[in-house]
Symmetry: C2
């Protein structure tokens, strides 16, 4: 049994996680939120109180932290008595927070790969560059570390494992498809941190095909997928974290990630990228000021959290898995559909934050009750997906499947 | 007789002016070039020597200057013995350089309106905000100041005066049309300082129509003009300096400025502008760094001078003037066509720099020989255009006219 949660970060995803922790504080205990700007943590706490999200009276506290400062994070973990850390800070702080967890014995979770601020698209597999180098340390210290447990990566890894465990005998390909068919009232905005968002698309697109990493350019390869609820959607081959762990478990399969983009997004991205405004490398202005263009773009774009009130429409994210069953070709699409307006009504965030913020709290509950308390470092596909997806059903992100037999809830099919 | 020229600035236009001064150094005397970065002045001097532009052996010297520092500019004017200052620095230094000319008695010229770094599109007429406030001072000190003597403003003001003097009895409208039908090998670039370029289009578009300043939005009003050499060209109603002096001389006429833009330019501009990246107001990055977005955009864009080697095609800039002659409706298009590749071959700059850099040197020659040595502040339409256009014919920017009688050199028509 592990109790007391420390959330690192105070963006839209952290807000969702805070609400979901609060809704489950009978099982999770005290809830702490820490970020560089304490006012953002306090705003989240105010939102939790305003929505009455706390299941029972309990501790809900804000802290200031520099998440790059491992000793400071370790000290905060000790001071708060947190046994579970949900790291939802920027992509640059994963390793410093993980080190603090190793030092204190707290369980660690994140929702995106660690990144070096000055590098885009490191050598594949990405997890081997930073995270997996600490696997032996986690094992030796008996520290539970669940990597990439948002929606994608995270839930989509569990969907892959579900396909393996319950639907197919062999897996030939896994196409992960991420569609946001929502609308908001801003001229342009990214759905999460613009810096992280754009960094995903400025490097080489890597997919795992024919047993090797295959490079493409962004927006070079597209395919229209006919999906439940949101209908036919054009999506583009995109580099993404989960391929870099799934390739270890499914080396025989083609693994691709597809993200939906509208023409407007592509146009804005193309202009900014071609001009060099998405670069993570510092430049100098005529006045001699050194500045990273991408950070300036981030500063002028809307805060993704500010989109929430006007956001309508739905997301559809899932795994299209092909292989064989009983010697015959078979395929299944395992997916979730989330609704922006419902997410806002429940926790004050838009649907993209919601899909990323609920899964780590489900994972926290499974660590708290011992089900997923692995005492080593794992990716989500290493774990039994059933208790996770069952929790997600009840926490607002129900899983459905569509295959030759039709479209229905996953547990009707698997009978778990 | 005034001799010895000091050029302030070391961009593409200054390079053209330096070459043209060198080609006429028998009349102009010593040539000095000063900018914040002396290396840029030295590169221009090297280019003048490489092309053999000096007509006769003479002084050609580089200096470091902060053009915002009036006493330093005055000291440089005295030290160099310059009697003519051609200010081709940024739009923010006009007044500090003009003050230095008033203090020393040197003649002053510029090619664009003075701007306050923090203001876009001040109250019309723009010249009344800064320049004309110093008119009495110039008169009292007997200082010649020729404002806006590039191509537009500048030559187009002379074209308006030529229409008044030689072609029409009454003037009903003057449409100034600026088309660059050239191509270069960069994905996107502005043809002159991006900061100045974009600032022209982010404010309200002001034209003088029906006896008053009329506001429009950028890209709101367009018209296709069928022009000599470059053919039919779509151009957009744009705010521009020359309207703000011409409205004093031609208050009865509709005065409009039209600039040609391709769809690609408009798209890039629209993305940058809508995102707030063309703002002249400082913003703060998440890391707390204060930065002006427009200056970052400027820093990532190609240096306009770097376009020159690959630039091909032509520019066409002129005045389409309508009114009456001998009681009947009449109209005339007075224009110049310049060629990018020829400009590069002659002076190492592209055509846009060439059209802006030649006219102030023609004006310098007219100040040097006394023809335009007005000993007060003037705009170009206040001066006799004939000696100016005759000089321009011989210096590489010949004037042509097209009217009901056909298309031919201006002096065949006017017989000057």
């Amino acid at each position: 049994m592990k109790r007391n949660v420390l959330i690192i970060g105070a963006g839209g995803v952290a807000q969702v996680a805070a609400h979901k922790c609060a809704q489950n504080n009978d099982a999770l205990g005290d809830i702490h939120i820490a970020s560089r700007t304490i006012a953002k943590c306090e705003a989240i706490i105010a939102s939790v109180h305003a929505k009455g999200s706390l299941k029972q009276p309990g501790v809900l506290q804000a802290h200031t932290i520099d998440a790059m400062d491992t000793p400071a994070v370790a000290e905060l973990i000790r001071r708060t008595g947190a046994k579970i850390v949900i790291n939802l800070g920027s992509a640059f702080v994963n390793m410093s927070v993980l080190e603090a967890c190793i030092a204190t014995g707290a369980a660690y979770m994140d929702t995106a790969i660690h990144e070096d601020p000055l590098k885009i698209c490191e050598q594949p597999p990405w997890y081997a560059n930073h995270e997996w180098k600490r696997r032996e340390q986690c094992k030796a210290a008996g520290v539970t570390a669940v990597l990439g447990v948002g929606f994608d990566p995270g839930v989509v890894n569990a969907y892959a494992r579900l396909a393996e465990d319950r639907f197919l005998d062999t897996i030939r390909s896994i196409d992960i498809i991420d569609i946001n068919a929502g609308r908001h009232d801003r001229w342009f905005a990214t759905n999460f941190d613009p810096e992280v968002n754009f960094r995903e698309f400025t490097g080489t697109v890597l997919s795992w095909q024919n047993g090797q990493w295959t490079p493409n350019k962004m927006f070079e390869v597209s395919q229209t997928w006919d999906l439940p609820v949101v209908g036919p959607q054009r999506a583009y081959l995109t580099g993404h974290d989960e391929l870099h762990s799934l390739a270890s478990r499914y080396p025989q399969a083609d693994l691709r990630f597809w993200m939906g983009f509208g023409e407007h997004y592509i146009n804005v991205f193309t202009v900014l990228n071609n001009l060099g405004l998405l670069s993570e490398q510092p430049i100098k202005t005529a006045e001699g000021l050194e500045v990273v263009p991408l950070k300036v773009v981030k500063a002028v774009l809307p805060d993704p959290a500010s989109l929430a009130p006007s956001y309508t429409g739905k997301t559809c994210i899932g795994d299209w898995v092909k292989g064989t069953k009983d010697g015959k070709d078979a395929e299944v699409f395992i997916y979730n559909v989330a609704d922006h307006a419902s997410a806002f009504a429940e926790v004050g965030s838009q649907g993209i934050s919601y899909t990323a913020g609920v899964p780590p709290v489900a994972a926290a509950l499974l660590i708290a009750d011992g089900t997923w308390d692995t005492r080593t470092m794992v990716n989500v596909e290493d774990l039994d997906p059933v208790p996770f997806l069952r929790l997600m059903d009840r926490m607002g992100l129900p899983t459905r499947v569509r295959d030759a037999q039709g479209d229905r809830p996953w547990d009707e099919v698997t009978g778990v």
